[in-house]
């Protein structure tokens, strides 16, 4: 099994001409927003100072989104989202983003789904989603566009989901609406069935955990063309005939506390391969538990843990990478100001004797944001990631242990119908 890999640096992937895509997209967007229920346009610019090693979007391994060469003015995200009712009980949601880096598609959909929302009946309510969307794991990414209102960079857990995990399939959620019947609690049970996500796990094994806010769009790629198979792949692919499944429970106490648990298994056949592209199916499963509590005086506390395993079995080998990550976040909102502090830790293990792909690390994130109105938001974020990565030394010849610091000033302007 050849896992020793040399990586191409820097990247030179071909990009389709931006204008060809933007013109029809803009036209379509304008036509649709004229009568849409909800639409939003966000532009997020960054001033970045970073001392990080080359990041995964540049063909390297780092704990943050922007590396040293990417310091300066960057596009954080340009986003357009549309929610449209289709008749009485159906709606469609489209979320398109550009990230200003060199993915093979300059504008892509991060989520696109159809939702069925029948009326509550006898205290119960059903919600069904079909399409492409995030499984119900994150407790911090609660703002529009699956963004965190607390920090710019997502936790290690949510960054991993952003990079390579998405439900492409169907999800049903049944709520018991206790608070609508004089009780203090609501309960929900969720079940999902999905495919086209057998690339998920490859990033954990190849790059480990990273703290980013870049969400891989459909059709997007992780790593660079020409990179070896562990570090260059498309996460949204199906290589065998097996559907993945997940099931979760949620408990809410009034509008103050949410407890969420999910068991997830993509049930991929780890021996499945696409010989034409060398793509491998990653058999990935995890359990996730989290809690979010909010107080009337503006405090928010979130704690979450995720523990799982990913495996491939090419040519009779069975290679596994157990992984886990936890974080705790505290935020205090004072009118238009918010201060947030988060501690992440993460670990990737392996059954490969040499330790290929193993990583341990932790991160501190501190952010201050000022939101003078629904259109503008200014955020200053300091992020420091310390990690010990086998591949950083083995592939790149850098010290395995690295402490990387990324400072970002973000200015975001939002326009739309459903901003607040």
């Amino acid at each position: 099994m050849q896992l020793k890999i040399g990586r191409r640096l820097p990247m030179d992937c071909p990009m389709p001409p931006l204008a060809w895509l933007l013109v029809p997209l803009t036209w379509l967007a304008l036509a649709a927003t004229a009568r849409a229920d909800g639409w939003e346009l966000d532009l997020d610019g960054r001033l970045v100072s970073s001392n990080a090693n080359p990041s995964y979007t540049q063909g390297g391994i780092s704990g943050v989104r922007f590396d040293e060469d990417q310091s300066g003015l960057k596009l954080g995200r340009a986003r357009f989202a549309l929610t449209e009712s289709l008749g009485e009980l159906w709606s469609v949601h489209l979320d398109a983003s550009a990230w200003g880096d060199h993915d093979r598609i300059p504008v892509g959909l991060t989520e696109a789904y159809l939702q069925f929302r029948p009326y509550p009946f006898a205290g119960y309510r059903l919600r069904v989603k079909a399409g492409a969307f995030y499984p119900p794991v994150s407790l911090e990414n609660r703002a529009a566009g699956w963004e965190s209102p607390y920090t710019l960079s997502y936790s290690a857990i949510d960054s991993w989901l952003a990079i390579e995990v998405r439900t492409i399939g169907v999800e049903a959620q049944l709520d018991w609406l206790g608070t609508r019947q004089g009780h203090d609690f609501d309960l929900a049970a969720t079940a999902g069935a999905f495919g086209w996500n057998e690339g998920a796990g490859g990033f954990i094994a190849g790059d480990g955990f990273t703290l980013t806010d870049r969400q891989t769009p459909y059709g997007g790629r992780v790593g660079l063309p020409g990179d070896p198979v562990l570090m260059n792949f498309e996460p949204f692919r199906q290589l065998d005939g097996r559907a993945g499944l997940y099931g979760g429970l949620e408990l809410r106490w009034l509008d103050r506390v949410v407890v969420r648990a999910l068991r997830y298994d993509n049930r991929a056949d780890p021996s499945a391969m696409d010989n034409a592209t060398n793509a491998i199916a990653w058999e990935t499963s995890f359990d996730s538990v989290g809690l979010r509590a909010e107080s009337a005086d503006g405090w928010t506390a979130i704690a979450q843990g995720l523990k799982g395993n990913t495996a491939i079995a090419p040519g009779g080998f069975y290679l596994t990478w157990p992984f886990k990550s936890e974080y705790a976040l505290v935020a205090k909102k004072l009118g238009q100001h918010m201060l947030s502090l988060r501690y992440d830790r993460f670990e990737v293990d392996t059954n490969i004797a040499g330790g290929d792909g193993s990583e341990t690390g932790h991160a501190w994130t501190a952010a201050y944001s000022y939101t003078p109105n629904e259109h503008w938001r200014f955020t200053l974020e300091w992020l420091r990631v310390t990690s010990n990565s086998y591949y950083r030394n083995d592939v790149f010849g850098l010290a395995a242990l690295a402490t990387e610091t990324q400072l970002q000033l973000a200015v975001r302007y939002a326009l739309g119908s459903g901003l607040r």
Binding site: Y119, R142, G182, A296, G298
Partner: protein, 228 residues
């Protein structure tokens, strides 16, 4: 009384109607024409005034009389019901306009009235008729943070406690069953029912104290676009 949320609230005409109703009731019952003032004070379990509590007084001696139904309005503004609570006599109608730019989809599965208003903006639907006493909890099928309450009552006298937790009304003399209700109350309404006799004195007073703490008020400072 909580100040009306909208300038053209039903409360002013209602007060006149209630006074008229009280007078008619007193005459019909053959009670002394001279009315007395009934003052009900509602306190939280730790003794603080509970403003906004709904107070009702049912005469036990006089034959039941019906307060005339009213036409009320509960608007939807900034993804909230406005006002978020209305007390209406049985048989009243309520219009639910939506002055937001986003569509709403109103429902209730409360036993006192099950209904739904399909996705709408503006005022496309006729008023909804409430013909059964009870609490109707309203929600929006799209915006989970929206909660509204209608208290449909067959009481001869009713109202809401003011900032000092007090509600008062001129009533005919006689025996009354007093009930209180509040959206954040954990006590069972039946456990807080009291009987009270309005006798010869000009005043009759009763203080009712909850035995359990209130549930916390909904968070006010959270953007609607956040996942609830």
């Amino acid at each position: 009384m909580r100040p009306p949320a909208r300038p053209h609230s039903h409360r002013t005409p209602f007060r006149a109607l209630a006074s008229l109703g009280a007078l008619l009731c007193a005459l019909a019952a053959g009670a002394p024409a001279r009315a007395a003032t009934l003052v009900i004070t509602v306190q939280t379990f730790d003794g603080r005034p509970l403003s906004g509590a709904v107070v009702t007084a049912h005469p036990l001696d006089a034959p039941a009389h019906r307060v005339p139904p009213i036409k009320a309005v509960m608007d939807q503004v900034n993804r909230a019901f406005a006002p978020d609570l209305l007390v209406i006599p049985v048989g009243s109608t309520v219009t639910f306009p939506n002055t937001d730019s986003v569509s709403h989809q109103i429902y209730s599965f409360s036993a006192a009235k099950r209904f739904q208003l399909p996705l709408y903006r503006g005022t496309p639907y006729p008023p909804v008729h409430f013909d059964q006493a009870g609490v109707v909890i309203l929600g929006c099928n799209i915006h989970d943070e929206m909660v509204g309450y209608l208290v449909v009552t067959d009481a001869a006298y009713y109202g809401r406690a003011d900032a000092k937790g007090a509600w008062s009304n001129e009533v005919a003399r006689g025996r009354y069953r007093i009930t209180i209700w509040h959206p954040r109350m954990r006590d069972e309404a039946a456990d807080l029912e009291r009987e009270l006799t309005v006798g010869e004195a000009d005043h009759a007073e009763l203080t009712l104290r909850l035995t359990k703490s209130l549930t916390p008020a909904p968070l006010a400072d959270r953007p609607h676009s956040w996942d609830y």
